[in-house]
Structure formats: structure tokens, C-alpha cells
Subunit: 621 residues, 2 copies
């Protein structure tokens, strides 16, 4: 297939025609409706309509039904050009209104007025005769283009009802927007609806709530997530894994405040260039002004600059899970994907020019190792380079050459495919972006690795070279996943909440069949956790034999000591998507066994000795 | 000894007399000095003096010398009462000036003016004759009391020179303040000076810099510590330990933002009662106002309130290492002990009344377990109860009785001595404070455990009881150590930077004798760390035999691959107070041994097989 733009495709025209067909159905079912505009959009089409009475999802179904009936009439769709503005007005008032009253032409007349003089004024007219011999017709002021007849418009689905202001202006009347989609084949429509269903099931906002991962609070404010216990454990587990990987690669952890004096961000240039993304300043007229930090870099730079560095001290690699705040528009916030407060998987590497290649390679290698462990197999790597024709860049040409070459070479040596995006570099250096493809083949722009010649210059950073003279280090900014919030949003959707064993907030749920089995459940929990619990859940305790088996790592367990029936307990815990459920009753307590249910297709694995279960899960660690 | 107040003690009088003696020495050595005031203070005395020329530490030594000489003259100190204000003025101008000019009486005349009419006006006069037969005399306007003669003033030490404004007003002239101390015996003075020396060696601000634990930056602003790599590791190690202890005790970790809408703190009442400790608000006139969080509680409350709770769900225990910000006066900031941004070891427990005792006991038990692990053996526990005569308290009497009893009973059941401080409760509930005594027997007020009936009421928190009716939970605030900053400040001073093995940021320093031993050093590091390093330090690499021995836990190591001599390397690393240094050379590389030097008195432990060393340190984990 050629890379034809969507806007020029047959599908685009088809969806445009589907919008007209929907409008026809509406005029038939809801006479007196005033039509506004009805364009095709990315995944379908919409029409903004001023209905004489409010409509519901039930009406939506009826409209869809009517559309399918109309499609079958195979009405030809013909373009009609008005002779002049007067003629167009006549068509609108006489034909388009379909005898439902001139007031229904309100918005179309406004649209007509907006057409510049001299431009052609066109209408699309579709008409046919139904089985009962009645004429069915619809004509609409429209630039087109459209498909030739209504027959291909059978694979349509009306999706939702929303509000929309006429001309997008809140001062105008609010209209009703009907969203729909249409495809060329039944299979494509089915596939798309399946995709939507899957995407809905995986929506991290819904799963976040259902699995008790995180929440938002009106009192705390929009875009500021609160991590509930299970989310906090998930976050900590991923952080711990990242920390270990970083320590192995010679990163040094640091911790810096969430605020700084305005002076710091004046020195970095952020105030001058980034103020619109910053929260309002904390100003004390008599004292100093503080700023909620939007970026960690200036803090790490202050640390680097706090002592004299020798060429032998480099590279210096400061890593911080740094929580930063950016004043995004509230309308742009979206679950964990676009928030106002988030924790970056941040690091800054201060390197000598001769270390740039190796260090960049190290960063990319680490990123790949992390992706692998997270189970994210598909991704794109994009290298943003200078636009050779522009002069907006700071730093010497040979430095740019060095760093662009280093980034590409690092990818090549690690066998990573990359695409080059010329002109996509920042003014202060080239970069590498990571785009991950999830299980539904949607792309997620993650974080970035960025070479920076600017900040070392602004802060006059130095190291003493082998020649005993001061040299300027190069700074690498590195947050390959952007933020924990985004990463966990992605992982939640990727796994539809059924996280791999190692990162599951609760790895094993223990379900005592009755209260008298709680004691045995606790004994199992102790073995799996690797330590005796110091808290006793309520419920009848029985004598129990300590089960055999032991484990090195701590397994995160929960005990469901609720007074529900076993069936209800299993349903509740299955919804929580725990990797394993252990069901324990009288016989298990006697024999030291557990009834194992694995998540997903594996299902019921039957009864086994606890030691056997431990052996099994050890493989997943 | 009776608990006589210091202000009524002999020592207090002695120090007052020492201040006069210092002034006498000054008038002899620096004629023309204008004396202002010279009171005794907590650990000694001072005198504010307007010197005719700036003085130095060298002068301080000479003044001290002169004081000792004068003390030996055993001059009697006599009180003289002026007949009236005129008489007093005459004494000041004629006697006190010692013939050095009337202008030297400037401040004394002002002091005289400030004495209310009718009050007695007294002077203290000391005079004697030295070996040369010269009269030596000093007379000063003073309320007294003083000791009887100068002889006991031999055990004096002048400490430091500082600036101080006349009458403490910055608009007045800046005078020179000389600080000194005096004791009744030589031994007491010696002991005190030893204490000061020890305290100085342990000063966490100095050690923090020397051991690269943390720093401050003028650009970031006062009271906002930046944790350098070693400090960050120390902090993380202590956090991890605390987290584990909390998980074992059924705490759930949570993570909340550092800011919230003003609405949240209006709901909590903090805006109304705590605004002076908050940073300036982030105000957006068109949108909403955000506040940098001074406390975590309202966030945890929002989480509790986000879902319906049953009596079986309680207690809910939310733990967070929550970073909060308080707008302390910059003059009040002190190293890590008083900062503007700090991370609380915070938790909030939502409990039923019938759970209060057990939960409070759990909190105290956890606190004691943590103290033990941290090696802090001496502490005081203070229970703050209601003042029965006041009516400022919220909540029902029976609740107060219940909780005060629960706190005391919890301590008693755990065998902990406590003192009751009547009237020391907050208006919303009784509390328990922890005061730790360090190695120098200084007391550190740490955090608090607080019962709260107020916030559950304000936020209308509920749980459904066994009776199917809504009930109000009790809230326990709990930050037993107050903050990580304060805790690590204390630990740094307690251990003078020589942290116990388990918490040392670097536990083992490996010192290759020459570059050719770096390879062997790395092999040892790999065994101790439990994983191969992915970063290669520079230096010549040699073939080496993999040393035997293995270890379960990760040991934090450093390799000193600098080009210094072995002697210099040992000195540098010893200053860093690492628990163990391993010195490795040719023979070690061949035989798989290490030369072990333990920190402190143990010193050189000689050469041993690596496996033997591992066996040794395993005991310390």
C-alpha cells in the first residue's frame, strides 16, 4: 500500500458520507432538528445537531438502525453546485429543510455566510425510493468529496453522545455531538470494535481504581495522583529493580528538594524559557521567591559543582527518582499519562568528550535491559539530530558531530534499529527518544536521552584534565521512561492489570475456606513472606503444623479473612488479577498442602504440597 | 543534689564574676574599650565590648592569660550601693572609667538611665595589689550577685569572638562579644572542653560535608538539603529497614503529592491554624491556589475516605516517607536539625476505639525495635495528657480517658518508663513524645505519636460497625523519629560518622596497592556485591583467579583506583570512616587473600582468605 494520507483516502470520504447519512436518519427520526456541521475525523465521524428534545443512548441505537436501512436504498450521492449565493440560500431554505421549517436552516445559513465570495458553493444530494414507494431524500451544504452512493455505508456504528458548542465557542449554544464510525468491510468494523473493547478493558484509569492502584481527589486537585497501597508497592517494586540496575552500572543515587530559590532557575535559564510550564511561584515580597521544581537537572549540577573534579572522577552519574511538577492545562490532563506531578526515572551523567560514546551506550544498554525485564518487546528508537541549515544551535560543530555520531554508533554497536529525525534535536544537543508499542499496537512516547552542551556552559562546570587545565564536561540528561506514572500507566494497559509475577503488588492470595483455616493460612503466609507476621488478623485460630518448605525472597501475600463464601472469595480475588490463589481447608491444614489456582488460562492446578508450590513460583522470580 | 535552678547556683554567680574579671583584663590590655553588658549564660558568660581597635583570637588568649593572673590576686569582690542617681553617675564617670576617659562610660550611662527610679543602684568593686605593688581595680555597674573573691576564677576558658548589636537592635552599633566559660574545678573545665571537642568532632554539619553525606547550596536556598550519593545511600538503607519493619507490622505504603489545592487544607483546618508555617501559596488568580504540603495527614485521610469501610477493614495503616515543607525563619535553620524541607517517617492509623490500645502498643513496640537496631539505647518517653482544668479540648471525655489510659497502658505492658506531662496534649488528643539521649548525653527531641479525634470529625470519616451503623474511627498520627533528616543528623553525631556496619554507605573499601591490582580488587568487589559490575574502572587489568567465598546480601564496596601511594590511600579512606579496608597486592591476588584493617581500635587484622573475611562480616549484618 502506498502511504496515502488518510485525508485523501476512500475511507475518509466514506466516513464523510456516513456523517450525512446519520444526519438524514436524524431528520427523519427527530423532525425539527437543526443541523450544524458533520465532518469525518480520525477514527470515524461526528455531526453537531441542535435537537428539539434531549436524546439518549437508546435514540442512538434507533438512528444507527435507520442509517442501515437508508444505506440499503443505495441512494446515489450527487454534487450540486449553486449558481450563486442567492441560489444557495434558496436550496438551503427549500430543499435542505425538508419541509421541517425554515428555522431548521439556522446554522447552515451561518455557514453559507462564512463562505468567501467567489468560492464555489456546493451541496451533496442523496435520494431514493423505499419499498413503500416513498421518496427519501437528504441534501446538505458541503464541500465534499463523498462516495458515489449510500450502499457501502452499511458497516457503521454510532459510538457516543457529547456536548459541543456551536463554532467551538463557549458563548454559543451547546449542541449535541453524535460520534460514529464506519468501515469498508464488516471485518474491519468488527476488528475495530474489538480493539476498542480491549482498550477499554485495559484502560489504566479504570483498572487503577478497580485494582486499587491509585486515585485522584477533587480536594487534592487535578493531575495529582495519590498512590494507594497496591500502586505504591508496584511503584516501589519497579523503582527497586531500576535502582539495582543503576547501581550495577555505577550510578550514584542522590536526593534533592522539590523546591528551590528562583535564583537556581534563573541560573539554569528555565525561568526565561520554561516559565509557562511552571506552577505559580511562591513569592514572599520581603524575602525570597521559591519555585516548585519542574526539572531535577539544576540540582544535580549544583552537586557536581560543589567540589573540584579531576578527569579521573568522571563520569559522574547522579540518579534520582525525582518528583517534579509541571503546570499542565487541566483540560490536557489524562489519567497517569499526563499529570501535573510525576516522578522521573531521572539521571544526569557528567562525562568527558572521550567518554561520550561509552556512556551513551551504557544508557541505551540499561534502557534495553529494563525494557526486557518489563516484558516490553516492541519499540522504536528515534535519534533527533541538528538541522544543518539552521543556526539556532549552541555548542561547537565538532561537539555536535561527536555526539550525533556517538548516539548512532551506540545504537549500532548494540544492534538497535533507529530512525533519524533531522532537525528534531534540542537547541542544546542531539537526543534519542523511545517509543514503545503496546499489546494493542498503540505507540507510547516514553522518555528521552539528551546530550547537553548548554547547561555545563551556563553553570561553568569544569574538571581538571590530565593536562592540569580546566575542561568543560558534557551533560547527558536521561529519563528513558519519562516517569513512573507514565510507565505504570503503560504497564497497566499492556498487561490489562495482570502484571507479571515479579511486579504484582500481591503475588499470592491465600483463601481460607472457613475462619478455622485462618491460622493455617497465616502459617503459609509466614513461610512465603520469609518472616513471621507481627499482626494477627481476626478470626478463629487453630493449632496447625508448621508447613515445610522455605524461600529466599519475600513473596507478597494477602489473606482473605472476610466472611464471604468460598465462591465469592474466589470471584473477588480473581478480579484483583493475582497471579496465584491458594485455597486452604481442613485437609490442607492436615497434610500441608494448598489448592492452587493460577491466573488466566492455566486455571486450577489442583492440590500440591506447599514446598512444591514454592518450587514452582521460584521459577518466576 | 537538690534540683536548684542554675540561675540560683554558685556556678552561675562564679560565671558572672568571671565576666567582670574578663572585663577587667580587657580594660588593662585594651585601654579605651567601652564596656556594655556582661551576663552569665547557660554554658558560661559573655561581655559585649566596644573595642578601640578590632581584636583577634590571639588577643583572646592574652586576655585569658591576664584573667588567670588577676584571679590569683584573690581580690575581694564587694557590693557598693550608690546613694542616689547622681552618686551612681559620679561612680561611673570617676571610678568605672579607671581614668581611661569619660567616653568609655557611654553604655554604662545608658544602662543607668534604664534603671527605674526607686530601685537600688549597685556596683561591684574588686581590687588588690600585685607583686609589683601596683593597685589593680575594676568596678562595674551591676545587680549581682557575685562570689566573694576572684580566687576561684582560675578555671576559665575564653571561647570565641562574635558580633552583637547594642541592646540587640540592628540599628545600633555592632559591638564585639567575647564568649567564655568558667567552672569551679579544673576537672569540670577539662571535662567540658573535652565534651566540646567531642561534640565538634561529631558535628553532623561538618561530618556531612567531610563524609560527603549532604550539602546545602546558596542557589537552592537555605534549609533545603541536597543528599549526596553517600548520604542518599545511608538514607535509603535506613528507609528500607523501616519499610520492612512496617510491612511486617501490617502497614501499607502509600505515596502522595507534595502539593494540593488550597481546598484540602481548608477542609483540614491547617490554613486557619498553621498558615504561618506554610510556604507562600502558589496563586493563580484565574484558576486555583496550590499549597506546598506542610503535612501528609489530609492526603491519607482522602485515601481513607475514598471507599466505604467496614469495621473488619480496620485498622487501616498508611505509611509514607512523606516529604513536607515548612517555612521556618532562616535564622532558625540548623544543619539537618531544623530544615525547611524534610521527609517524615510518617504513618496514619485509622482505628476503632476497641483497637486503640493494641494499635498504640504496636506503634510503641515498633519504635523500640527501631531504636534498638539503630543502636540508640537511652531515651525518655513523655506522655502529654489533658489539663483537666481547661476546656480547650475537642472530643468526648470518655474518648480522652480511653486514649490517655491506652497510651499509658501500652507503655506499661511493654515495660517502658514514661513521665506524664499534664496539659501537654494537643487540643485534639493526647500524645507520646520520644526524647533520645546521645553518646554525649545530649537530648534530642524526636517525633511524636498523637491521638486525634478532630480530623476524623472534620472530614466526617466513617466505618460501618458490626451494628450496620456508621461509626467514627480514631486517627493516630505517628512519626516517631520526626524526619529522616533529623534522625540521620542524630545518628551522625551519635556515631561521629563511624556508622554501624549495616548502615554504612560504603561498608568495605578495597585498596589495590598498584594499578595492576585493580583487576583483583574488582573480582573481590564482585563477590562482595553479589553481582558482576558492568562498569570498568580505569587502570591496568590483570588476569586473576576468581576468589572463593560467596555472600547472600549485597555488600556496598568502593575501590580506590586513584594513583596515590598506599599510605595516602589508607589515610584518605580512614578519614571516610569505612568499617573495613581491604588492602590487596601481588601476593593477595595469587593466594586469594586480603589485608584487612578494621575501623577504630581493632585496627590491622592482618591477611586472611576472602572467605574468612566474608564469614567475619556476615556476623555484623
Amino acid at each position: 500500500m502506498s502511504a496515502q494520507p488518510y485525508e485523501e483516502s476512500h475511507l475518509y470520504k466514506l466516513r464523510h458520507s456516513a456523517a450525512h447519512l446519520m444526519a438524514q436518519a436524524v431528520t427523519e427520526l427527530h423532525p425539527g432538528s437543526k443541523l450544524a456541521i458533520g465532518p469525518p475525523i480520525e477514527n470515524g465521524f461526528y455531526y453537531d445537531i441542535d435537537f428539539p428534545e434531549p436524546i439518549t443512548d437508546r435514540d442512538l441505537g434507533k438512528i444507527e438502525q435507520r442509517m442501515k436501512e437508508l444505506a440499503k436504498l443505495d441512494m446515489p450521492i450527487e454534487m450540486v453546485e449553486a449558481k450563486d449565493r442567492e441560489d444557495a440560500k434558496r436550496i438551503i431554505l427549500e430543499d435542505c429543510t425538508l419541509g421541517q421549517g425554515e428555522e431548521t436552516a439556522l446554522y447552515k445559513l451561518e455557514l453559507l455566510d462564512a463562505i468567501p465570495d467567489g468560492d464555489p458553493i456546493t451541496f451533496y444530494d442523496q435520494k431514493g425510493t423505499d419499498k413503500q414507494g416513498n421518496e427519501r431524500r437528504f441534501i446538505d451544504l458541503c464541500r465534499g468529496p463523498h462516495i458515489e452512493s449510500t450502499k457501502p455505508l452499511r458497516y457503521v456504528k454510532l459510538m457516543s453522545i457529547a456536548g459541543a458548542y456551536w463554532r467551538g465557542d463557549v458563548k454559543n449554544k451547546q449542541l449535541t455531538r453524535l460520534y460514529g464510525t464506519a468501515f469498508e468491510t464488516k471485518e474491519e468494523l468488527k476488528e475495530y470494535l474489538h480493539f476498542l473493547e480491549e482498550a477499554k478493558k485495559r484502560d489504566h484509569r479504570l483498572l487503577g481504581r478497580e485494582l486499587n492502584l491509585f486515585m485522584f481527589s477533587a480536594k487534592v486537585g487535578p493531575g495529582l495522583p495519590l498512590w494507594l497501597p497496591k500502586g505504591a508497592v508496584l511503584r516501589e517494586t519497579i523503582c527497586d529493580f531500576l535502582k539495582d540496575e543503576q547501581v550495577r552500572r555505577g550510578y550514584d543515587p542522590v536526593v534533592t528538594p522539590n523546591i528551590a530559590s528562583k535564583r537556581l532557575y534563573e541560573a539554569s535559564g528555565h525561568i526565561q524559557n520554561y516559565a509557562d510550564k511552571m506552577f505559580p511561584f511562591m513569592e514572599d515580597a520581603e524575602k525570597e521567591t521559591f519555585i516548585l521544581k519542574p526539572m531535577n537537572c539544576p540540582f544535580h549540577i549544583e552537586m557536581y559543582a560543589s567540589t573540584l573534579r579531576s578527569y579521573r572522577d568522571l563520569p559522574v552519574r547522579y540518579a534520582e527518582f525525582g518528583t517534579v511538577y509541571r503546570y499542565e492545562q487541566s483540560g490536557e490532563l489524562a489519567g497517569m499519562l499526563r499529570v501535573r506531578g510525576f516522578t522521573q526515572d531521572d539521571a544526569h551523567l557528567f562525562v568527558r568528550p572521550d567518554q561520550l560514546l561509552e556512556e551513551f551506550k551504557g544508557v541505551v544498554e540499561l534502557t534495553m535491559a529494563v525494557l526486557k525485564k518489563l516484558g516490553l518487546k516492541e519499540y522504536r528508537v528515534r535519534v533527533g539530530t541538528r538541522d544543518p541549515s539552521s543556526d539556532k544551535y549552541v555548542g561547537h560543530d565538532d561537539n555536535w558531530e561527536l555526539s550525533e555520531k556517538a548516539i548512532c554508533q551506540a545504537c549500532e554497536e548494540l544492534g538497535i534499529d533507529y530512525e533519524i529525525s533531522v532537525g528534531d534535536a534540542a537547541f542544546y544537543g542531539p537526543k534519542l527518544d523511545l517509543v514503545i508499542k503496546d499489546a494493542l499496537r498503540r505507540e507510547w512516547q516514553m522518555g528521552t536521552v539528551q546530550v547537553d552542551y548548554n547547561l555545563p556552559e551556563r553553570f561553568e562546570l569544569e574538571y581538571i584534565g590530565e593536562d592540569s587545565k580546566p575542561h568543560r564536561p558534557i551533560l547527558i540528561h536521561r529519563a528513558p521512561f519519562g516517569s513512573l506514572e507514565r510507565m505504570i500507566g503503560l504497564l497497566t494497559e499492556e498487561y490489562a492489570g495482570a502484571f507479571p509475577f515479579w511486579m504484582s503488588p500481591v503475588q499470592v492470595g491465600i483463601l481460607p475456606i472457613a475462619d478455622r483455616h485462618v491460622g493455617y493460612a497465616m502459617a503459609i503466609a509466614e513461610v512465603l513472606q520469609g518472616y513471621p507476621s507481627l499482626v494477627e488478623p481476626e478470626g478463629e485460630q487453630t493449632e496447625f503444623k508448621a508447613p515445610e518448605g522455605s524461600i529466599d525472597e519475600t513473596i507478597r501475600v494477602s489473606i482473605d479473612a472476610s466472611r464471604e463464601t468460598l465462591g465469592k472469595k474466589i470471584r473477588n480475588n480473581t478480579k484483583q488479577k493475582l497471579p496465584y490463589l491458594l485455597i486452604v481447608g481442613d485437609r490442607d491444614a492436615e497434610e500441608g498442602t494448598v489448592g492452587v489456582r493460577a491466573r488466566g488460562e492455566d486455571g486450577d492446578l489442583g492440590s500440591m504440597k506447599l514446598a512444591e508450590f514454592i518450587k514452582m513460583i521460584k521459577k518466576e522470580l
